[in-house]
Amino acid sequence: MWDGLVIGGGLAGLIAGIRALERGKKILIVSEGVGSLAFAGGVLDFGRVRELRRLEKHPYAYVGEMAERAFSYFLQLNPAYTGTWGRRGSVLTPLGTLRETELLPRRLDASPLFKANKIVVAVPGGLKDFFPEIVKANLQKEFPSGNVRLKKLSVEEFADWRAAGKSIPGTVYAEFWGTERGNTALKRHICEIAGEADSEAIVFPGLPAIGCPEVDEVLAGISLPVVGMTSFPPSAIGLALYESLTRRVKALGGELLIGVGVERVEVESARARRAIVRSKGKETALTAETFVLATGGFLGRGLVATPDDVRETVFGLPLHVPPLRGGKDFLGEQPYARAGIEVDRHLRPCDPATGEVLLENVFAAGRILAHWDPWLEHCGGGVSLSSGLLAGELL
């Protein structure tokens, strides 16, 4: 018997679990997958919170002041991150353009580049999905007063990969820089660049920007600013964030079951009682006082669409479903993005037709909530963190 059962172990679910554990609750997190932090590049967007809060039924409208609290809470949870409430910082996209965001690993903060006249881009040999010429040209456009040059690094460790015509994923590079040999190599390469006369700042793709003290130590000894980059999926930084959160859960005494999907939840008089999970071919019942539903949207499979309808996969809850096939411009408004669960101010699922609360002890958080679009509104991290934190307070 748990105080709280969190269904879904992505950003929202993990934050809910961590907060509830801090409050002394006994918590189990059950998750079919590992969330989608690996796709996000490790930065957390909050977007224009004040404006979005005014939109009827936007998740920010429900979480209220929790958005600002979630912002500070996350900074305290992850000292490798930086940010100032109400202000935006800048990071480099994988293409070398600037992108605004609110919470970012210190190591990705691109602001030192505005002051540099001479920018060197380190090019680790064979780094996958990294295009030096494009990055150079984009940086040149973003920082017209700075001179940008590329510096190729040949890394012996991967000579065999290169000879076989294989590129090296950013996650492999990030791990390597943290090993003893990688660390020595990194130090040598960075010192060499820093020693060259025409270097005032270094852009370094594929660095483990968080969760790697060995690399931090090397970089601390360098007099020039070293700026990391977000990367094309899978992102080493996103994965490191995921790992640091799961470690935190365990450190606080929480339990995590990963790779286990909830088949269904038994409900009695508008209260969820027992979640039935299937693991190794056996069904097991997990009983809890309260539940968090953070199974994600369509990508996370919290929602599943068939040609005729959209289903919520755990409780079969009624959903807000706009006509899915809308917008002509792929990157413009897409109605499907706003499908999901409608909730009350305590994140309890409601019937979209009547507004009636359907489950008293279930709190929905993250991408499964209705009426928002993380890609147009640039608020994916903010909504997940604040709804997750609120759920963690309610568990």
Binding site: P94, D129, A305
Partner: protein
Amino acid sequence: MVRYSAQVVIIGGGATGVGILRDLSLRGISSILVEQGDLAHGTSSRFHGLLHSGARYAVKDPVSAAECIRENNILKQIAPECVAATGGWFVQLPGDEVDYAQAWLKGCERTGIPVHEVPLEEALKREPLLAKEALRVFEVPDAAVDGFKLVWENAKSARRCGGRYLTYHRVEAILREGEGVAGVRGENLLTGESFTVEAGMVVNATGAWADRLAASAGASLEVVRDKGILLAFNHRLFQRVINRLRPPGDGDIFVPHETITILGTTSEWVDTPSDNQPSDREVERMMTLGKALLPGIAEKRVIRAFAGVRPLHRSDSEWAEGSEGGRVEEGRGRAVSRTFALIDHEAEEGIKGFLSIVGGKFTTYRLMAEKASDWVAAKLANDVPCRTAAEPLQPELPAHLRRRARALLPCAAAEKTLQRLGRDAAAVLETIARDPDKGQLLCECEMVTVAEVEKTVADEDAHHLADVRRKTRLGMGTCQGAFCTYRALPLMWREGEKYDPLSGELIRFLNQRWKGIRPVLWGDQLRETELTRAIYAGLLDLREGGAAG
């Protein structure tokens, strides 16, 4: 103003147009083909990719059926790299007319289409997803054909013997001189420059646009624009073409291509050649109809929907017979013959040197080209015989090239590269041998290497990412461009002058892919959409209008 001159100008870069270009070039007649988009961007690529055995027409249209079986055999000989000889089945389901099967068997026999019956038990073993209620199954020599590739191979073969083609060149007027034609005038759509081609003969092979072009020269012909929609599934659901044994109807053909399957099609008359956007209603209908042959269809992943417009020729007699107070009904396109027509505008309207060719279908493109070329050759008093029925499209691949490919690339990737490039693979393989990095698979779905995309991008015919896609199949697999679009970027960058600013090109390509995904936005394709938006709108911060950041 850029001036070209030739004996013949062909308008339209679909299968028929390039077929004529090749045929005339092989006969030593100097010819230029003018196309308003990329080659094969229209109907020649917007179909199910079925190389008909003719069996589908055996009852109602024996002329077409006989043409099909003959051309089917020829194409398997001259273009084996474009054809997958999968064979095809005609499946009778409960409720299908029993009499039709008898008439069909007779029709096939009469037109020379070999048929043999497959025992039911064996059929269900070989095609486990097929409806278990099937009553009878017959095998015919249907096959799958790659429309893009066949068109490009015709163009390349024509070029080897002197034929020329101009893509992204739009014809604005047919030039007249006395009683005859004197060539065409138009605009290069990439540069905005105007051009003329001086030629004593003009061949109109513009398919769904043919009536409009003819009218601009004061000639008339009747084209019915018959739209058919298609769904692409991300698995090879069947190993062979599956047809329904009944009078041809909607949603009753499945054609396997490489790792996907295409379900076709519908028949609906439309007003404009560019009406190729499938509607939600049409998609829904196809899913319902496809269920009869493939009961598990709703669980299969549809990766995109698309549509093509068949240019059917309607002669006066058919017009009278088919007309019901001028009302156009769905499915009526099937009442019009699928054979083709040559319209000699000298005989019809007294315009010398002007020929239109319309109707027919992809399977018979070579025959259509032969007939059109015979007409041209006769007018020019050229008596070199047609060689296209015997001359392979691609010179034979030397054995050492295949060995080289296998040594440098994974087995399947090697085969696919050879199939796509033929002898041109040599240069790509040498690049990979020199720089193994270039052997990386840029498109993991269709197994396209960096070196191949680089070569295609550098090609003088490639102007947009979509042109590269049609030649390499980049972005046409399961991910529908989510990953390879990003990976193709640096290759285009080096060709900086030729392309629009990069983010604009990226957004244009994503929107083109989106057009086909939008009508099938459910299941895993919706998941893929959320991921693709996360990458391009979220991570890369690209926004509509082209500006990043």
